[in-house]
Amino acid sequence: MSKQFVSINGLCARIDDGEAHKEILRGVDLEIPAGEVHAIMGPNGSGKSTLSYVLAGREDYEVTGGTATFKGQDLLALEPEERAALGLFLAFQTPVELPGVNNANFLRTAVNAVRRARGMDELDAVAFLKAVRKETKHLSMSDEMLKRNVNVGFSGGEKKRNEVLQMRMLQPSFAILDETDSGLDIDALRIVAEGVNSLRSPDFSALVITHHQRLLDYIVPDRIHVMAKGRIIHSGGPELARQLEAQGYAQFLSEAA
């Protein structure tokens, strides 16, 4: 068994919704071996984004049971930035705007924070610029986007590409992409998919959350999981995507009930 293994067992999480507790994750089981790309599909509100937030360490959610380990470490015991340093990256479904914070400066600060934590040398301005230019070219992004403030005034597609840019610069070993394909036209989709595919290696795993089989034509997953009501209710090979596209989630939902 590889140390890259992502292992989630019986994970339960809830949120304080004013007075009442709202259970969102109700026992998620998921194993992602090193080097594999898995996809999660499922109806809106089933807890996909919540799972990604809980794995990344968002404090609003209270973990009430279960475990999650990454590279043999108890993920849930770490601060969000420690998880990032360990190699976890989350491409947000809704990337956050940081007014007044220059995109390039943000990226460089993040890259160097992570490099420091990983015991690597920091990149100086020149080395950083070289590295980032290579990536923006790869992603067909204009350099002008680096001069703008983080996600401020970005179109939906630009925000998603910016997430992929960050992912590539931060060199994660486990990336979660939460509906990164939503709002992308077919060309952008291909570029983003290529941005993920070219990272594929025995040291890189990914969890791709999507509604669309279309993305999975480009990023062909090793396994697909169906999530509903806070659980993984079905898993299968890449062929499952087409089946879901044709028949919807209904069959699994009734099975699960």
């Binding site: 404090e59 609003d60 930035e81 990032a84 340093a85 705007e97 890259v111 924070a113």
Partner: protein, 496 residues
């Protein structure tokens, strides 16, 4: 290494979470007995060997102060100050006003070194090989004011050659009495307000700058104010005169030791800009703010005012206010000359129990005068911050313009931020624009940054610096770096 680079380095090596400038210097002091009366003033005046007119001027100020009341309109709260329980004069023993660095107490020099202000003059750096990563920067002339007395001024010779006078004001009283007499109190009259009158009565030192016609001051001028003695009020007086077509950039930094009791600071700064003259006045105010429970800290009641007397003159105030338990401060511009320009760029940060009531006054008197106000207020902890600004268009200010932008950023939910704009427009063709926003650092933003590997504190620093960018870019480069660090240090422990 250039002076400022060294200062920056000192700031960079600062650790975490407490006020880093809180040390005390053990030095022999010449201290006047506590209390304020005519004798105290006579004592100060005679210690300084002042001419009769200045003593009369002080006494006049004192007598009007007796008739005045402490203002209560600002949104700050503090127990009554006992003005008789304060020392009004404290000077390092030895000769007042040393003439060269050799005469300065070595203990003092060590203090300034700790503060990152090398006083030893260095050769002009032009052409000198710099260590890798160091950019060439013009040197900065420093005037250091320790408690009430100016102890050393650097680069005098270079400045002298350019015709610039930069010296302690007490020395200017001796050496250039005609200039001092002409301009002292001409922008802030002795009766202007309670604290200004008090300052006029008891001020002991400060900086004096005179830039003659057509001269661009060849380097940044900088004053570092340091309060050290216990129970001592600090009352500096700064006077800057810039003649026709001349210009100067002046920086001011302030620190004080950590003490349980509050200390009083009431400075006056007067600027005079003649035709086509420009003055850039930058402050990084970092007086001791008190501890996290609100004990101790400096009470900072300051009157700063600039007169744009000549046509097309320009006065620009930039301030980064992170220190003091209480800040009461409204750097202002009197835009008298036709086409003159006033600017106010401010970042005010309050944390823990700090209170700040700060802003500006732009008084448009002449035609086609313009002013810009950009005020950024950041509140954290249980602190309270108010922007208070006045824009007045006088009847003759035809075609004049003001633009004001006030933004508040709240960190946590126990702090307060308030914006109090006063607008008086008495000219139909003058235009006043005001914009204001309030925002909070959101959990979403913090989590996003942390997911990218930033610590919570670095995330706050990044967001705060982004918020303040429009102001920080107005600071001279070296100061901007220092200010950024300071902002972050001031806000440490403010989240989570």
């Amino acid at each position: 290494m250039p002076a400022v680079a060294e200062t920056r380095k000192t700031v960079e090596t600062l650790g975490q979470n407490t006020y880093k400038w809180g040390f005390e210097t053990d030095i022999e002091m010449d201290i006047a007995p506590k209390g304020l009366n005519e004798d105290t003033i006579r004592l100060i005046s005679s210690r300084k060997n002042e001419p009769q007119w200045l003593l009369e001027w002080r006494l006049k100020a004192y007598r009007s102060w007796l008739e005045m009341r402490e203002p209560t309109w600002a949104k700050v709260h503090y127990p009554p100050i006992d003005y008789q329980d304060v020392h009004y004069y404290a000077a390092p023993r030895k000769k007042p006003g040393p003439k060269s660095l050799e005469e300065v107490d070595p203990e003092l020099l060590r203090t300034y070194e700790k503060l990152g202000i090398p006083l030893h003059e260095q050769a002009m750096l032009a052409g000198v090989e710099l260590p890798e990563g160091e950019e060439a920067r013009p040197p900065v002339a420093v005037d250091a004011v320790f408690d009430s007395v100016s102890v050393a001024t650097t680069f005098r010779k270079t400045l002298q050659e350019a015709g610039v006078i930069f010296c302690p004001i007490s020395e200017a009283v001796q050496e250039h009495p005609e200039l001092v007499r002409k301009y002292l109190g001409s922008v802030v009259p002795v009766t202007d307000n309670f604290y200004a009158a008090l300052n006029a009565a008891v001020f002991t030192d400060g900086s004096f700058v005179f830039v003659p016609k057509g001269v661009r001051c060849p380097m940044e001028l900088s004053t570092y104010f340091r309060i050290n003695a216990r129970n001592t009020g600090q009352f500096e007086r700064t006077l800057i005169i810039v003649e026709d077509g001349a210009s100067v950039s002046y920086l001011e930094g302030c620190t004080a030791p950590m003490r349980d009791e509050n200390q009083l600071h009431a400075a006056v700064v007067e600027l005079v800009a003649m035709e086509d003259a420009s003055i850039k006045y930058s402050t990084v105010q970092n007086w001791y703010p008190g501890d996290e429970n609100g004990k101790g800290g400096i009470y900072n009641f300051v009157t700063k005012r600039g007169a744009c007397r000549g046509a097309r003159s320009k006065i620009s105030w930039t301030q980064v206010e992170t220190g003091s338990a209480i800040t009461w401060k409204y750097p202002s511009c009197i835009l008298q000359g036709e086409g003159s320009v006033g600017e106010f760029y401010s970042v005010a940060v309050t944390n823990n129990h700090q209170q700040a009531d700060t802003g500006t006054k732009m008084i448009h008197i002449g035609r086609n005068t313009r002013s810009t106000i950009i005020a950024k207020t950041i509140s954290a902890g249980q602190s309270d911050s108010t922007y208070r600004g006045l824009v007045r268009m006088m009847p003759k200010a035809a075609g004049s313009r003001n633009f004001t932008q006030c933004d508040s950023l709240l960190i946590g939910d126990r702090c307060g931020a308030h914006t109090v704009p006063y607008i008086e427009n008495r000219n139909m063709s003058a235009r006043v624009e005001h914009e204001a926003t309030t925002s909070k650092i959101s959990e979403d933003q913090l989590f996003y940054c942390r997911q990218r590997g930033l610590s919570e504190e670095d995330a706050v620093g990044l967001i705060v610096n982004g918020f303040c960018k429009d102001v920080l870019k107005e600071l001279p480069m070296e100061f901007a770096v220092e200010a950024q660090k300071l902002l972050q240090i001031s806000l440490e422990g403010s989240v989570g």
